[in-house]
């Protein structure tokens, strides 16, 4: 019996403003000026005392960024003013490994978001990024002793330069797209994870990303390497204060899953409605490896994000589970990509998009099977639920097949919450909001049931909040 429903109901009445939308005073160790330049890139690199190759990587990336035009597909990016953004804020001089060592305002923020409590209850490790830097980081002792590395990306570069240098920009090239180039130029923070062969990390590792300042640009960079037959579940959450002007979040996440390994990456994205969320995520899965993206997008003004899996080794398996909820003033251009390069690879893409109050949510995906990937199997299911006449859902399922011996399935449905279905539930005593939330929870259930209970509850609660129309 699902515990989630009562938990969901407990979320009624709270709203984004109180729970996540607050901000605290800025008392920072360093804050850059607004705008983007090679001088800024130098300043970031110097602050971090980086090796020369990384400084060059950044400068080159900035040139790529300048050279590339703005994308003209997806969402409306014309509102982004790159000169108005703060690209680098270092809130504290040093990273803490106890919550008590953080400045009071920052610790208070994490307490309100419930991160220290979650760490105690069900996490193997936590990284907490505030503005540009990971201000708190900790991994359970027993995992450290098994050789698991879970650091912020800057520490990863300092302490494991060879691994970072070998992989960074290889899964997502600097010049992959305009926003990957921007991230490569000004990246700061993010997670660096290495799981040694055969090690299974039973509890999730969690990173939490918090923007506090107005017009902030957050550009974390994450690299995850899951070695042979190893397993890790990485979870990220993110929130920001509500401001009348825009912020920008543009991350790059690169993942390598080696032979027989498995990586699950769960995102519960709940940015405030003034954040542009333009993220590039890509994983490669080698022989018999499994990569799973669970991508929940509830917040932000505009999200453009299509987590990708390249199935490079025979027997590799990829899954993308995507939830996109577009409320008032929101556009979720979500989706996923699976590219079958090796024989007997399998993939499943399941997308559930919900739109209400004039919001837009949809699926944009690519399924590609390269010549030689014989015996590849894939299934793409995209379902859309539209809650009212003003809202919109779009489906762009691109499929490219260069191999004959394949088994590909694609299904798409669009439904609306019917008056009859609502009446049925209301005739049992549920209010209209409760009844709608129940229908939506049921609609996304194929995805929430894949999540650990705590995250399923969180996701359902956020959906309930969205249904109350109190977000943003």
């Amino acid at each position: 019996m699902a515990v989630t429903e009562t938990e969901v109901v407990q979320g009624i009445g709270s709203d984004y403003e109180v729970k996540y939308g607050f901000h605290v005073a800025e008392d920072y160790f360093f804050k850059s000026g607004r705008g983007l330049s090679h001088e800024l890139v130098d300043a970031i690199s110097s602050h971090k005392d980086e090796p020369d190759w990384m400084r060059k990587f950044r400068h080159q990336s900035l040139d790529y960024f300048y050279a590339r035009p703005m994308p003209e597909w997806g969402g409306d990016l014309s509102g982004i003013d790159f000169e108005n953004i703060y690209y680098y804020i270092r809130p504290t001089e040093k990273q803490a490994n106890t919550w008590e060592d953080l400045p009071a305002d920052i610790k208070d923020t994490w307490d309100k978001l419930g991160i220290p409590e979650a760490e105690k209850k069900y996490l193997a490790g936590v990284g907490a990024q505030y503005e540009s830097e990971v201000v708190y980081h900790k991994l359970k002792e027993e995992l450290t002793s098994q050789g698991v590395l879970f650091l912020d990306m800057d520490s990863g570069l300092r302490e494991h330069e060879d691994i970072v240098r070998e992989h960074i920009g290889t899964i997502i090239p600097q010049n992959d797209n305009k926003f990957a180039a921007l991230n490569s130029a000004v990246w700061s923070g993010g997670s660096f994870i290495y799981v040694p062969p055969g090690v299974k990390v039973d509890l999730p590792l969690q990173a939490y990303f918090r923007i506090n300042a107005e017009n902030m640009g957050q550009f974390e960079r994450t690299l995850i390497i899951v070695d042979e037959d190893a397993y890790v579940h990485y979870v990220e959450g993110c929130t920001a204060p509500i401001y009348s002007s825009d912020s920008l979040h543009s991350a790059v996440v690169e993942i390598v899953v080696r032979k027989g390994g498995r990586c699950r990456y769960t995102t519960i994205q709940n940015w405030s409605n003034n954040v542009y969320n333009l993220v590039t995520k890509r994983a490669v899965a080698h022989e018999n490896a499994t990569m799973e993206w669970v991508d929940g997008n509830l917040g932000s003004k505009l999200t453009m994000k299509y987590p990708a899996i390249w199935l490079m080794g025979e027997g590799a398996h990829g899954e993308v589970l995507s939830i996109a909820f577009g409320g008032e003033g929101q556009h979720q251009d979500a989706g996923g990509k699976c590219v079958h390069v090796a024989p007997h690879t399998t993939s499943v893409i399941t997308s559930k998009s919900i739109s209400k109050n004039g919001g837009r949510a949809g699926y944009r995906g690519l399924l590609e099977v390269a010549k030689g990937a014989h015996g590849a199997r894939s299934k793409v299911v995209c379902d859309a639920l539209i809650l009212d006449e003003e809202s919109r859902s779009d489906t762009y399922p691109y499929i490219r097949i260069d191999e004959n011996d394949v088994d590909i399935g694609h299904e798409a449905t669009v439904s609306k919450i019917g008056e009859e279905q609502l009446f049925y539930l209301m005739s049992r005593g549920l209010s209209e909001a409760e009844a709608s939330a129940m229908i939506v929870s049921g609609f996304v259930e194929p995805i929430t049931k894949e999540l650990p209970l705590e995250y399923a509850v969180e996701l359902n609660r956020l959906i309930q909040l969205q249904m109350e129309g109190s977000v943003g």
Partner: protein, 261 residues
């Protein structure tokens, strides 16, 4: 005043067509009333209008439950006050299990009856009640974990309607053609379930085309409903007369045809 009093009820569709044309009914606890009518007589419209379906407008008349007029209340508020409708065609809610749906519904009703303050039923108590009610209605335990009405057979849907009724403790239960599409075994179980609930705290209004279900639930009163109106009233013997003589015996054939909608 009876527990449920329906006074001069007129109901119209959104386009203004009048379907229910002045109905008076009074139902108390411990009573079973049968409303019997042919297809198209407006029986289901009456049921939906009682429950507060937004597509059916009450143009005239009143519905009192325990002395309170329900006409301006939404379906949720009517349910919270103790009105229940067993649907002829229950809707599916994919992804929501029978158990979790029932728990949410029970808690919504408890909250309303507790003056708006949360009063959730403790999980073990809920589970016990649910299992007992399922036993009683011959519903297999695995149904609790299935998605509400999704892929259910006609018989399963009707049993789950009665299960919902049992769990929600209504004061007045309206059953809209609950007998349609049921085989004899299912009919016996469903009717037995209803009969078991009618008593000191509940009365029932059984809406039906056929007399069949009334073999299992003997009505105290029978109302013959044709063309949006009650045209004859009596005791259980009236149902048998209807079965033998047909609806034509109660109204001229042309009026019967005119009642179609």
């Amino acid at each position: 005043m009876a527990l449920l009093e329906i006074k001069n009820l007129h109901v119209a569709l959104e386009d203004g067509t009048e379907i229910v044309k002045g109905v008076d009914l009074a139902i108390d606890t411990n009573e079973v009333h049968a409303v019997m009518g042919p297809n198209g007589s407006g029986k289901s419209t009456l049921a939906y209008a009682l429950m507060g379906h937004p597509a059916y407008e009450i143009t005239e008349g009143e519905i009192f439950l325990d002395g309170e007029d329900l006409v301006e209340l939404g379906a949720d508020e009517r349910a919270q006050r103790g009105l229940f409708l067993a649907f002829q065609y229950p809707y599916a809610v994919p992804g929501v299990t029978v158990a979790s749906f029932l728990r949410s519904a029970v808690n919504a009703v408890r909250k309303a009856r507790n003056g708006g303050a949360d009063d959730p039923v403790p999980v073990p108590e809920f589970r016990k009640r649910l299992m007992a009610a399922m036993d009683e209605l011959g519903v297999s335990k695995e149904m609790a974990g299935r998605y509400l009405n999704e892929g259910f057979s006609g018989g399963e849907k009707k049993r789950i309607e009665i299960l919902q009724m049992a769990m929600l403790d209504p004061r007045i239960a309206v059953l809209d053609e609950t007998d349609s599409g049921l085989d004899i075994d299912a009919l016996r179980v469903v009717a037995g379930g209803v009969k078991g609930l009618v008593g000191e705290t509940m009365g029932a209004l059984v809406i039906t085309h056929y007399q069949r279900i009334l073999n299992y639930i003997t009505p105290d009163y029978v109302h013959v409903f044709v063309g949006g109106k009650i045209v004859a009233e009596g005791g259980p013997e009236l149902a048998h007369r209807l079965e033998a003589e047909g609806y034509e015996a109660f109204v001229p054939a042309e009026a019967l045809a005119g009642g179609e909608s």
